[in-house]
């Protein structure tokens, strides 16, 4: 008798676990993906994954993805997107190098870049609303503008790439990176969960009309969200430059898609809305960086890395996006 009862209890709690898994499938998939990457690469790399050198390399790449993805969270939670960040980051790297080399002031360089990112954010947010364009159009426009600028700047130097005459190695110290990402993540966590900014951007993503009827000036908050993203892009660019030390024609170009992939791997619905979480940016950027790094140190042919990434991406999306409704951004 008691045995049966116990059995039933077991079944019940098993059912509950299954129900939880089902309703949190994208979270579960995100965690599972990260754990899978860690375990698989721990084995396939023969322990090299955990070497102190590799960990510092990993941290360097994670921190750029994560800082930019944390900013992107505000934009993507509205169901909007920005595919211009990659070429923007390329141009900013070049600008920082040119300004630092000419004046020696890193702060001035950062200030200029920050001003530009804020301007681009305002442009993306405001023009999209003003001309009633989908955000992909304005960011495509910016992508081409910055892509062109990058070419023009590098051509004008007459070199294939330019290097910065200032050591940024302090930014590559693990403790510095860790402190930086903790600060950025904490600030984003605060603004995303405990202020109007995050609550409004999620609401806009879930139902813009209903949000506007609650007295929210959606245009204003879109612009703010894009500008916050801009701040994170500026910070992320500094870390990118610290890593590369130089910049050329293709610097940064892959970042727009990398950030989007990180968010998806972290379980973020690209249609935005209430299910947007800060942890998507954090988990996703770890998974994404691990994927690139792990495959290479496991001795996979570099040409195969993209194919494998594509396969992983496909599987994660297939698992986590089975829910009804739109998944793609507007």
């Amino acid at each position: 008798m008691e045995g049966i009862k116990k059995d039933k209890n077991m079944q019940n709690s098993f059912g509950k676990v299954m129900a939880y898994m089902k309703s949190h499938i994208s979270d579960v998939a995100a965690y599972a993906g990260l754990i899978l990457c860690v375990t698989v690469f721990s084995v396939t790399s023969g322990g090299r994954l955990w070497s102190s050198y590799n960990i510092s390399v990993l941290l360097e790449s994670v921190c750029v993805y994560m800082i930019v993805a944390l900013g992107a969270l505000f934009v993507y939670s509205m169901g909007y997107m920005d595919i211009s960040v990659g070429s923007q980051m390329g141009v900013y790297c070049l600008l920082i190098i040119l300004i630092v080399n000419a004046t020696g002031s890193l702060i001035l360089a950062f200030a200029v870049v920050l001003a530009l990112t804020l301007l681009c954010g305002a442009f993306n947010g405001f023009v999209a609303v003003w001309l009633k364009l989908p955000s992909i159009v304005t960011s495509l426009f910016l992508m081409f503008v910055f892509g062109g600028l990058q070419m023009l700047i590098i051509e004008s130097t007459g070199q294939n790439s330019i290097s910065v005459n200032l050591s940024l190695s302090i930014m590559l110290e693990p403790w510095f990176i860790l402190i930086s990402i903790v600060i950025v993540a904490a600030v984003v966590f605060y603004f995303f969960n405990f202020t109007k900014l995050g609550k409004y951007t999620k609401s806009i993503g879930a139902n813009e009309l209903a949000t506007a009827q609650c007295g929210v000036n959606t245009t204003k908050w879109k612009v703010i969200a894009y500008m916050v993203f801009g701040v994170c892009v500026a910070i992320g660019t500094m870390f990118l430059l610290a890593r590369t030390g130089s910049a050329g024609k293709s610097t940064g170009s892959s970042y727009a898609m990398d950030v989007m992939l990180s968010l998806i791997l972290g379980g973020m619905p690209l249609s935005g809305g209430m299910k947007s979480k800060v942890r998507s940016a954090i988990i996703g950027s770890f998974t994404y960086a691990l994927l690139s790094n792990g495959l290479i140190i496991s001795g996979v042919d570099i040409n195969m890395v993209y194919i494998i990434k594509a396969a992983v991406f496909f599987i994660v999306v297939a698992i986590s996006c089975r829910e009804k409704g739109v998944f793609l951004p507007r």
Binding site: F191, F194, T195, K196, S203, A206, L209, M274
Partner: protein, 501 residues
């Protein structure tokens, strides 16, 4: 009349996870009847009919149609076999012509050697529309040109043209204009004269009592009872039906019990010669503690006035004022203590994918925010108060709104504005799609708001609601006020209806 049975349902059970939507229902449809189905939201009316029409499968039980086992896999198959259902939501195909919509899935009737004669199809469709007495719809037009009501009519024509044996109508009439309703009643009457059957789902008691030949009442997935025509004609039938639906006495305290139209002198909201859309020069003073009702046929412009009061429309002239401030956007409206409950509950009033808590706090975030910080404890306290006030049925305030029943959803959209402590409330059809039990409590809340000195603009398509609740009723016709009525115990729907049409 030949009363032979056409469809039989035996012991139909439908489970959605742990929830029983139908617990073993036996149901019969006979030729020549208009069978009303009535019950509160979630009583199982739509579930039962959608199983008959092939939209979903029963968990267990069997059906027989024209003497054979009936187990349709799709709605298209059911329709082909003569069981046709018109749904609550619009189901016309965008970008196609009216004729294409009417003959969707049946175009081969007009094809020769694989080429469809569009001209012939349009001609046939037009003849069909004409034969039904629908004059304002042209078969060659693209459906997008037509209003929701007209598209609903096109759907009805489509259903009728397939000459169904059983036509199931799921709360379609709420979407129709007055003329279209009359037309529709005529059409279903004709069907029964041809010895077909109609199943008619509605929340509107008057409509059911007037047009159905038989009535079945459902509650919580069980059939509670049947009424025939004679029983429906008895005095006291509405009370009896309500009792069957709710399972308890509704009592007399349904609407406001007092007939005192007095209010405070202070003006809460003022329209000064407002021109918006086709409305010209509309003026109105809404006082504290006053309920003003706006009535009329849908499309008469009353919704526009509600939207203008909340700053959602661009005015062509005049202004909407509150406390000396011009209301020109939802933001200024809310800052001046105005709240708006939209008729489009699921698309405008609520964020379905958000939790109860997130929905209720959204308009209040501005005032909850202190130096950017929104304290979760304050949010929680605010939500708790509202959930308790309205007795919102939920496991926790973190439950997603999309999982709630219609009545509870509507409670959430009320709660948004009481949480914000709005002094002026604009309610556009606040009890639409809400069942009697919840309706009664909504009316009690509205009456309480009046006592608390709130000003209410009540826009409604139900005259009985306006008569029961408003201090003053403005009837609109063709974008102008055709008549004003003051609250009185003698006022009846027949006094008003003439000014609407």
């Amino acid at each position: 009349m030949d009363n032979q049975t056409i469809l039989v349902c035996k012991n139909i059970v439908k489970k959605f996870g742990p929830v029983n939507a139908l617990n073993g229902v036996d149901f019969e449809v006979r030729r020549g009847e208009i069978r009303g189905l009535i019950g509160e939201n979630g009583s199982g009316k739509s579930t039962l009919t959608s199983i008959m029409a092939g939209m979903q499968k029963a968990t267990s039980g069997s059906m027989e149609y024209k003497g054979k086992v009936w187990n349709p896999d799709t709605m298209a198959y059911a329709q082909e076999q003569g069981v046709c259902m018109i749904l609550q939501e619009a189901a016309t195909i965008k970008g196609c012509t009216v004729a294409e919509n009417i003959y969707a899935g049946r175009m081969s009737e007009f094809s020769r050697f694989g080429i469809i004669s569009v001209r012939k199809m349009i001609k046939n469709a037009q003849e069909l529309l004409d034969s039904f007495g629908i004059k304002n719809i042209k078969a060659s037009d693209v459906v997008d040109r037509y209003s929701f009501e007209d598209r609903k009519m096109i759907e009805i024509v489509r259903a009728m043209s397939s000459e169904p044996e059983i036509l199931i109508v799921d709360e379609t009439t709420t979407a129709l204009s007055f003329d279209a309703r009359e037309l529709f009643y005529g059409l279903i009457k004709k069907l029964t004269e041809k010895n077909k059957a109609v199943i008619f789902i509605s929340h509107d008691m008057n409509e059911i009592l007037e047009h159905c030949t038989d009535l079945t009442v459902l509650r919580d997935g069980d059939i509670i009872g049947h009424l025939n025509r004679e029983e429906m004609n008895l005095p006291g039938a509405p009370e009896k039906i309500r009792f069957m639906m709710v399972g308890r006495e509704i009592g007399d305290a349904y609407y406001r019990s007092d007939f005192d139209p007095s209010h405070e002198n202070e003006i809460a909201l003022e329209f000064e010669n407002v021109s918006v859309g086709k409305i010209k020069d509309f003026s109105l003073k809404l006082h504290k503690g006053e309920i003003i009702g706006l009535g009329g046929l849908s499309g008469c412009g009353m919704r526009l006035i509600g939207r203008a009061a909340f700053g959602q429309e661009k005015l062509n002239g005049g202004k909407v004022m509150r406390n000396g401030n011009v209301i020109d956007s939802p933001l200024t409206a809310i800052r001046n203590g105005i709240g708006y409950i939209s008729k489009d509950r699921d698309t405008e009033a609520l964020i379905l994918s958000a939790s109860i808590s997130e929905n209720i706090t959204l308009p209040s975030l501005d005032s909850l925010s202190e130096h950017t910080f929104i304290d979760p404890r304050k949010e929680k306290a605010l939500v708790k108060k509202e959930v308790e006030r309205y007795l919102i049925k939920c496991n926790s305030p973190r439950q997603t709104v999309s999982t709630l029943s219609g009545g509870n959803k509507q409670k959430v959209s009320f709660a948004k504005w009481t949480a914000k402590d709005s002094d002026v409330l604009i309610m556009d059809c606040p009890t639409r799609g809400v069942d009697i039990g919840v309706k009664q409590s909504m009316y009690a809340f509205i009456a309480q708001m009046k006592k608390d000195g709130k000003a209410i603009l009540l826009i409604s398509e139900e005259l009985s609601e306006l008569i029961g609740m408003a201090d003053k009723i403005l009837i609109l016709k063709d974008f102008a006020v055709s008549k004003e009525f003051l609250r009185s115990a003698d006022l009846s729907e027949t006094d008003i209806i003439g000014y609407m049409i």
